[in-house]
Symmetry: none
Subunit: 213 residues, 4 copies
DNA sequence: CATGAATGAGGTTTCATTCAT
DNA sequence: TATGAATGAAACCTCATTCAT
């Protein structure tokens, strides 16, 4: 009982606030989100928010970087599946592409992109922080895989970083178009079509030596 | 006569307001831009803004679509240069890619992207309007060119729309990364590197028949 | 009728705000006075206050300097009565002293002193502005009178500024004590006693040559 | 023993809080001083402040009366030097005046005056408490000395209380003007000039019988 | 007794928008 | 039509004060 009460005070209000903040920011955007609502969603009083995070701005940054970390973790896990591709490469890549695309369409990922973009003019440093925690590290991880695959002769890639970048933009670029920057759901069939096209083009460009004629 | 001048004055004011609006929105973002400042930059009084555009929101939409039209016009002109490519295709594409990339880094184009993205949650329909006036139509135009080139046997493209999309994202995608979503200037050398890489990959994937081994 | 309506908008809301501001600041002190209440007392909406005066602070300064000017005007008028003292000097001085003392106990004058003092730590420049508009100029004016009287041989004063200063503090100093810094009304009898004592001491120190023995 | 130390610690903390409170109140004024900062300066946690003093207001009163007592003690010690003035009276008075003036310009004394004045509207009773502990008792003490001096025939004073009051305001009044209510340091030369003038006027008014012509 | 954490209340300010000329 | 002046609505933030340890 006493423990329960104690718990109430302890069970990371800080985390609750962070989560609520991301939810509300995602729902309303930075400017239209009011700390009041964040506090309500988090189940705390407004000043508690300010006790943990100095500013609305500070809160925003924390919420965004947390979300960025989470998104990155998910994506890294996917890339990691390329580590030992028993299935033939095209299949493995198609699978990866599809799953990445799915992740891209995920609520959290979309909100992260919106919010990051929306603050471009106000806080360029935040953009840097988010990008370095997401796109950059995802690109790196993928480049690592590509380098291994190239060494193993599974694919002909001279510049793994470039290849990774191209692979990713061939997926995410068309996806942004199809989903109208994430405002419209992309049916699975379209998701499949986009990723298939991406992998096709990618493999045609970086085709494995043994597939050459 | 006097009427004409008045008419002129009116038209000019409207345009001045639109320009000022885009300038201020680009500088501050939608929420932080205040109608007051827009009026000042336009050299009119605040109510005059409301006489021409009902709402801050309406003004925003008009300003954005106007900017979108302008950006599109620039890009279409570039694509049009592919109409009769006397120079060999790789050179022509590289040239196009570089010029598109340049345009992408342009102040107006960057601001347009920021602002569009930032309002994703508030007005999805605006996103649609902007995209259909820019990316979509640019893709179409490029697809047209690709179709002609394919017919002429200059390149092997089965799905011109898809090829156009891939061509464009191979340029813009990496650029967004390099420029940190447009917050950092991209030196010409990097611009060249990115576009060269894009064209390389594109041509490797959609290589011209006569270049095949 | 239309004129009436016009009047409503015109009849210096600015002045109404200034008056209300002084009233409310005097009632509550700077910090506890809220702009809300000032607006209500002035019969305008809160933002109107901010349209005329940028800040609560700015409003405070304007209100205080306006009050200072008013208080000064009253006091100068009193001093001016010394210009041609047909009545014997002691009577004239006693009269002046009494009237100055009365003015000192006046609501507005007391509030001005409180408010000025209370902001000493926050805005020393305001203190300067108020003092130079009140005490300094009152001292000057009185010194002028004393100089004339000395020239006329009515009183023996070597340093008129010093004499004026002493004359004034002999009145206001004891008054602050009696009134407990203005928190307690001073009955007319006490007022008379204080001023009589002041003039006695003053004349004893600066007695006219012909009165000596 | 341990109890003693604890007791000590407690006493020390209470005193530390009182000191910190006066420091912070003096620095910021009543309203802008926040208990948080007082606690920090005192080196304790916020609730500790509330454990010792119920209120911000209560704390203020305690801090102010403590300061008033200290200021009074200093001044009384000065007045006490008049007890047996072997030196000629004018010198002794000039000395006293100068020392009182110095004390008046002291940081603590100035802050005490500011703070007292600033709360005039909020807590008239506090004004009473402070005045009765400072000005009143100082006046009394001085009146005592004057009475003795008068009895000894050193000075012609019919009403010692009145004389004491006049003596003090002739010093402090001009000083407040010169120092702009304490916001500007008064150079020693000015201090000397002011006090000399005060004593001159005082002695001219209450001149000793044997000095008369 | 001392404290970290939480909160209720309230205040300044900003801004989109509308009158009335 | 263009504008100076006015306003309603809200949002951020601060702070005195209290729990529960």
């Amino acid at each position: 009982m006493a423990a329960t009460i104690t718990e109430r005070g302890r069970v990371d209000k800080r985390q609750a606030i962070l989560d609520a903040a991301f939810t509300v920011f995602a729902r309303r955007g930075y400017a239209r989100a009011c700390v009041q609502e964040i506090a309500e969603v988090a189940g705390v009083a407004k000043p508690t928010v300010y006790n943990h995070f100095t500013d609305k701005d500070t809160l925003f940054r924390h919420a965004l970087t947390a979300a960025a970390d989470a998104v990155l973790a998910t994506n890294l896990a996917l890339v990691d599946r390329l580590r030992d591709p028993h299935p033939p490469l095209p299949t493995a890549l198609a699978d990866l592409a599809y799953r990445l695309a799915e992740g891209c369409c995920d609520e959290r990922s979309r909100a992260l992109r919106w919010l990051t973009y929306s603050q471009v003019a106000q806080s360029p440093d935040l953009i840097d922080k988010v990008l370095s925690r997401t796109a950059d590290r995802l690109g790196d991880a993928l480049a690592d895989r590509f380098a291994r695959l190239a060494l193993a002769g599974r694919v002909r890639i001279a510049d793994p970083a470039r290849a990774a970048e191209h692979f990713l933009v061939l997926i995410t670029g068309p996806l942004e178009g199809r989903s109208r920057l994430g405002t419209r759901p992309v049916p699975p069939a379209d998701l499949r079509a986009v990723t298939t096209a991406a992998v096709d083009t990618f493999l045609a460009a970086y085709r494995t030596p043994d597939e050459e004629r």
